[in-house]
Symmetry: C2
């Protein structure tokens, strides 16, 4: 079983409006509401791969109950600790004219130490049945930046490897707790290092590799930087790799990053060597970017892309 920690889940609401009036009353032509937050996308992707998963997290209020019920409908087992606040919503409005979208992300409920303590107790019990854990997404307001570090240390004590996908201080503190893999994207690495990592021609791979090495030096066993359409750059104790898809796919970037995290955790649990792990992660990420909703992908896309991913070991070319 793979444990997926989602401390700040969401209900993602998407409205399609044929021609938005940004100063008036609109009647969406379609309304979609589904469980969201990076962790839940990871869990759904893992579930689609046939992996056994358990979502653990914090949820509150009517929106929390809605997320819980919707996950159950999707066949994703979840064990949420109830919190006093209301689980957050995200609202995305897609304008039918140009396909442009505006999102409004609520911050999530202020969460207290007692609520996090209850989560830790349940998590500690569940670790015995976990082959790996994925810790993904933002921390809700109120939780200290070392919350992921605490969970990673608990996993390590139980002999369970951890994959971390978050940003800012929570990423820095989490990386220092020596997880098996951290998966920052370019923006997250740039924020950490304070250096631009892109040139006019795209990601500056040398600069990214240096930033990833810097992050790995703080404790993480491996750093896999996601470069969007340019694939993944992995810096590990066994060497470095660049893996990239056959062609750029424009699409759902959030879903793609979460699919990469799912693919890395899946490969870790299956004992795949790094090159194969990255090949699958790139194929999954690319297939998910092409799908309309985060956490979903077409298995045919995944299979078709898998054979066309290029994986280079550092020094190969």
């Amino acid at each position: 079983m793979i444990g997926v920690i989602c401390l700040n889940p969401a209900l993602d609401i998407t409205y399609h409006v044929p021609a938005v009036d940004w100063t008036g009353v609109n009647r969406p032509s379609s309304v979609r509401a589904r469980p969201g937050g990076k962790g839940l996308n990871v869990a759904r992707t893992l579930r689609s791969l046939g992996a056994e998963v358990l979502v653990m997290g914090l949820a509150g209020g009517i929106t929390g109950a809605g997320v819980d019920a919707a996950l159950r409908e999707l066949g994703v087992p979840a064990d949420f600790v109830p919190v006093g606040g209301e689980t957050r919503r995200t609202v995305t409005i897609v304008d039918g004219r140009g396909g442009e979208a505006a999102s409004f992300n609520e911050p999530g409920p202020v969460t207290g130490a007692a609520e996090f303590g209850e989560l830790c107790a349940r998590y500690d019990e569940a670790l015995a049945g976990c082959a790996a854990v994925v810790l993904s997404g933002s921390l809700p307001p109120g939780l200290p930046a070392d919350s992921y570090a605490t969970l990673i240390e608990m996993a390590a004590a139980a002999g369970v490897p951890a994959v971390l996908d978050t940003h800012g201080e929570a990423l820095l503190r989490g990386a220092a707790a020596c997880p098996a893999i951290v998966k920052p994207n370019l923006a997250e690495l740039e924020a950490l290092t304070g250096r631009p990592l892109c040139t006019a021609r795209g990601a500056d791979r040398q600069a990214v590799a240096a930033a990833a090495g810097q992050l790995r030096a703080t404790g993480a066993q491996a750093v896999v930087a996601s470069l969007g359409a340019a694939g993944l750059l992995a810096t590990t104790q066994d060497g470095s790799w660049h893996a990239f898809p056959p062609a750029a796919v424009t699409g759902n970037a959030t879903g793609a990053g979460d699919a990469v995290a799912a693919g890395l955790a899946h490969g870790l649990v299956l004992g795949r060597p790094w090159d194969e792990r990255l090949r699958h992660a790139v194929a999954l990420g690319t297939a998910c970017a092409a799908a309309p909703a985060a956490g979903e992908f077409s298995p045919a896309d995944y299979a078709s892309i898998l054979g066309r991913v290029t994986v280079c070991r550092d020094g190969d070319r």
Copy 2:
């Protein structure tokens, strides 16, 4: 007790964003979620006036449960028939720069005859304890346009007067069932008659009176047209009146219209003569327009405005 029928309630979500990026990701500085839909605003205003109310309506899914729970917290008794679909949300985004707002109104759950039948059964039972009923707001998709007419006829059979506040075909059919009062606004009257009722100097009172008379001729015992800041124009079997506030208040127009409906129902139940009924309705509407949220008002505003409302009987000037 005043029964308030709300067939298409809503959860009203409001985001304040300091400077909206209509093509990007926004983090609202404040998030407010409260029960909405015209009927629920009427019920809250009546409750604030100290009237005993019972909300009857249709609600479904997690959002329906949320509306029900939030009403209970506000001390408004409600009896919702559960429906298979999901109760609608409305999302309003207020831009902190200019105060402009965009709203996105979901249509509401498709509702079937069996669900409406169950509502009718409960309503019929509750009518014995009602001094009046208010039927307010849109019909959910799936219900026929004569649904309000059915409910008004049932009330009449039980000797209970009805106040109707809706639009389009449901208003026309409802008016034909001879309710005590219908309360269209200018836009609704214009849509019914197909004639513009405003000039550059505001509402054309003569044209409005003619349109109201036309609507009254279809069956309604009284028509009270709300003219926004220009007050109310009433056409009844006892005569016609114009009642208007001391000064124009710009603010929450939806809340103001619902407060007028509440004021009219309250005056009806208390047996106030038409001039007093209108005076209170105008004061309530004006006080509610000045309040930040629909269904709320400052009692001090209400009391202060009450003494300064002008009520003219047709022919008085």
